[in-house]
């Protein structure tokens, strides 16, 4: 910028030449293509949100939020609470998820296979199951009604432990550490065993190896996991509403949902734009901090086998810590969920157990004659729809995510391209699902030229699903890809393979583990997420999450919980299947 300006004609000529060169690079073409797809799937709905807040009569929503007597309660305090929760969730998830990933992948602790499976489950459980598990232990007499185990034992529980930021951060962490765990475990599994052995031969301690060899290598996965956990932490509504409202602890998400549900949509959208900006800033800052560090290519084509780390005397305490963690985040909430679908009275574990809500026939005395869910043909139909939707979206988002992350990690075209793709592909996370769903109806509900209206079709569910889950697939794709050394690809180039051939034949198989992880995340997200599909799934095409919602809004809590158990079982089965599958796809990691 400090050089003397060149004559104008030359600049134009040079720019034109640069454009020509750039266009010849396949990654640039690919980048432009994927950017176009993301523009339709992500930017357009977002523009719709912004546009709404700028329409006549809606504009004062901005001053209401930013400069009015309400701003304190509507924006500033909720915003700092959201950032606090997001940060706590990100840090907590990284520490716990990273620790468990290390235990499962790097050590020889007995039962680590089971540990690894259990650690992926909390993400598949609904957030309220964890919040409820917390309440069943810590609930005090602030609200009235029943109290938790501790109070019943005569142990006083202060409000700060029963309600507000501490329990919310704890339950959110318990819910989302799975994300970090899955991403970091996938990255750790690809750490080159030679490097670690070399370090150990030079006398480095286990800790030192972990810190100096493994940690830098998994850095991209750690960052990705932390960002996802942060975004989930700030956008989660259920947990803050359940555990925060009694002490009037509000976050941006509770304010946003409140504004929308009481009919003040434009204010809700302003808040969601704020939410998006806040998260985007955090994300930008974190990539600046970690961006200076070169990523470490660990899949070089020359990899060696790893052996597990011997923990010696530390074996037992480490194993105990790991088991305690998964017990309290997986086993206990899972049991709470199953038991609550069996209770005769809503969530009253002392009222006796019944299988009625699972297999019973219609009984007018219970739940207004609703049949047990396994006795209900609609559930079968919904289960099939749900699984099909999950798989389709996982595959589509996986392919798109791989292409996007390829551009992000490999592009040597214009600098702004990977950055833009990175941010754009992260944004859907922060758009409230229902707003995204409504945007899709508005966008694809009416016929576009020769294309028919997609309203009520499976296709619109898939499109919206891909848009909503692209952050997962891009993040997991990026962390997987940044480990693949360029020299592998260069050999393919020398052998004459084109871009798509390289992606299909070299990159995809090498990153299979990371991609599977992303695919499972997407699948689980689609299967359990309600807010996106609630508008898009027409009643003629039921999905399980919508049925849960219907049951619960009618206060058929047990039936709702039973369907939730079905959702959790599907999610967990998918996780198990995918692990088998990825084991087969990556024989060189079979010792992990």
């Amino acid at each position: 910028m400090t050089t003397a300006p060149a004559p104008r004609r030359t600049t134009v000529g040079r720019t034109a030449a640069r454009v020509r060169t750039t266009l010849r690079q396949p990654t640039v073409v690919l980048g432009a293509g994927t950017l176009l797809v993301l523009a339709v799937l992500v930017v357009a709905p977002l523009a719709g949100l912004v546009n709404t807040t700028l329409m006549d009569g809606n504009r004062e929503a901005w001053t209401d939020v930013f400069a009015s007597p309400m701003s304190e309660n509507l924006l500033w305090r909720p915003m700092s609470n959201s950032v606090l929760l997001g940060t706590a969730t990100a840090v907590g998830s990284t520490v716990i998820g990273g620790f468990l990933a290390w235990v499962v992948v790097m050590t020889r602790i007995p039962g680590r296979g089971v540990l690894g499976l259990l650690a992926t489950i909390p993400f598949a459980l609904p957030s309220f199951a964890l919040a409820l598990a917390w309440e069943s232990v810590f609930r005090n007499d602030l609200i009235g009604g029943s109290t938790g185990i501790l109070v019943n034992l005569g142990i006083g529980v202060p409000d700060w432990l029963a309600w507000g930021p501490v329990p919310i951060a704890a339950t959110l962490t318990a819910h989302y550490f799975s994300l970090s765990f899955m991403l970091i475990a996938a990255a750790l599994a690809s750490v080159n065993g030679d490097l670690m052995e070399a370090a150990e031969l030079t006398g480095a301690s286990t800790l030192r190896v972990a810190r100096d060899i493994a940690l830098p290598v998994v850095a991209p996965a750690v960052v990705s996991g932390a960002l996802l956990a942060f975004a989930e932490g700030v956008s989660n509504f259920v947990t803050p509403a359940l555990l925060g409202l009694p002490v009037r602890f509000h976050t941006l998400s509770t304010r946003l949902y409140g504004a929308i549900s009481t009919g003040d949509v434009s204010r809700g959208y302003v808040l969601s734009i704020v939410l998006i900006l806040v998260a985007a800033m955090i994300m930008y800052a974190s990539t600046r901090i970690t961006g200076g560090r070169r990523s470490f290519a660990t899949i070089t084509g020359k990899g060696g086998r790893r052996r597990g780390i011997e923990l010696g005397v530390w074996g037992r305490p480490v194993a105990a810590a790991a088991w305690v963690l998964v017990t309290f985040t997986t086993v206990v909430p899972g049991l709470v969920l199953v038991l609550s679908s069996l209770t005769r009275r809503t969530n009253d574990f002392a009222s006796g157990l019944t299988l009625h809500y699972w297999i019973g026939d219609s009984d007018p005395a219970l739940a207004q004659g609703q049949r047990g869910i396994l006795n209900n043909p609609q559930i079968l139909q919904a289960t099939w729809n749900t699984v099909l939707l999950g798989v389709t979206v996982a595959v589509c988002a996986g392919v798109l995510g791989l292409l996007v992350s390829y551009v992000i990690t490999r592009s040597n075209g214009p600098r702004w391209l990977p950055g833009t793709l990175g941010v754009v592909s992260f944004v859907p996370f922060l758009i409230p699902g229902i707003a995204l769903g409504a945007a899709f109806i508005a966008q694809f509900g009416a016929p576009i030229g020769p294309l028919p209206s997609l309203y009520g079709t499976f296709a619109i569910l898939v499109l919206a699903g891909v848009a909503a889950t692209i952050p997962f697939s891009v993040r997991s794709g990026t962390s997987a890809l940044s480990q693949v050394s360029r020299d592998v690809e260069e050999s393919a180039v020398l052998a004459g393979a084109g871009l798509f051939r390289r992606i299909g034949a070299v990159i995809a198989p090498l990153t299979a583990r990371g991609l599977f992880t992303g695919g499972v995340l997407v699948f689980v997200q689609m299967v359990r997420d309600l807010s996106l599909v609630v508008l898009l799934a027409t009643p003629a095409m039921p999905v399980l999450a919508v049925l849960t919602y219907q049951y619960s809004s009618e206060n058929f809590t047990q039936s709702a919980n039973a369907v939730t158990v079905v959702i959790a079982v599907i999610s967990v089965s998918a996780t198990i299947l995918a692990r088998r599958f990825e084991g087969a796809a990556q024989p060189w990691n079979s010792n992990s």
Partner: protein, 388 residues
Amino acid sequence: MRFPGMLKASAVLTLTATLAACGGGAPEAPATDAASGPHELDGATHDELVELAVEEGTVTVYSFTSRIASVEAEFEAAYPGIDLIGHDISSSEQITRLLAEAQAGTPSADVAYISDAPVVITELVAGGILQNYVPQRVAETVPEEYREPLLANRLSTKILMYNEDAHPDGTPVENLWQLTEEEWNGRVVMVDPGVRGDYLDLVTEIVRRSDAMAEAHLDLFGSEVVLDDGVENAGQQFIKDLYANGLVLVDDTDNVNAAVGATGQDDPPVGFTSYSDRRDNEEEGWALQASLETAPSPGITFPAYIGMVNGSGSPAASRLVADFLMGDDSETGGAAFDPFYVPGDYPVRTDMTAPEGAVSLEELSAWDIDPEETAQIRDDVSDFLLTL
């Protein structure tokens, strides 16, 4: 304890005017003309409607209650040639869906059975998305406020309830202002009106009835209400004092029911919830009872509306459904009305008797909300809450 509402809230954050996310493009004008004149079938006789409806064959109903399933069975038994497809969809979701469908020009419902009156009237009826139809058969027996601008078939409540197990001699709260005193500090529970529309309607009504609130203050304390800075009337002052007195806000009605109703509590709280939830007392082990003698009023009643979706392909069958939902000519409304004949809910027809097991509407003396007036000040009340 409960978590039904959690899903409810989390998931369906109940959008309303979602014309919004118009996909970046220019929002298309609603496919149908705004609140145009009466429909050509509004004057048709029952027999004419049946004939046309059989030709139409099917009719799709969005209902905010799952009881539509029973209605479906009864309707199809009464009109064998017509297939009623009932969908259980919450009011706030219906509003979002109806708006989005109208915008995309693809209406998929013919009838909406819906609450959330202030938003329905100002967004859907004023926007021409829902049209009114009053069957001539019931025009005489439905009071005007439930015929216009949209027909209602019953009223629901949000009122103060207490634990009759702990207070067998009747309500411990004779005047709402008692709730602002030390005795009830931290022991009043309600759903956060900043999160749920029906509770915002309740708070709005208290503000709207400021004169009655001022009078009740005088009765209880023998003095006029003193308004704080920035407080405009007695209703707002009550809300402010209630918040300052440790009002406990929760996320869901069931949370209120369990807190107030759970038996075996020494000193249970009181809370605002639905009178008809008393029917779950036995099943859930609650002792909920309506706080009837509370001055100036225990709470609000609000209507459940029946709207005709503009642009429907089954206008005749839709009108038959509306007629059916009003109940037959008997005192209880017969099999058609049976799913809605619940103690604590009130049929609007003057020739029907209220269900046994709950006091009469007069005795309840709840404030009946006026959807249009409520809609006018609702946003201001919501803003006021945000400054507390």
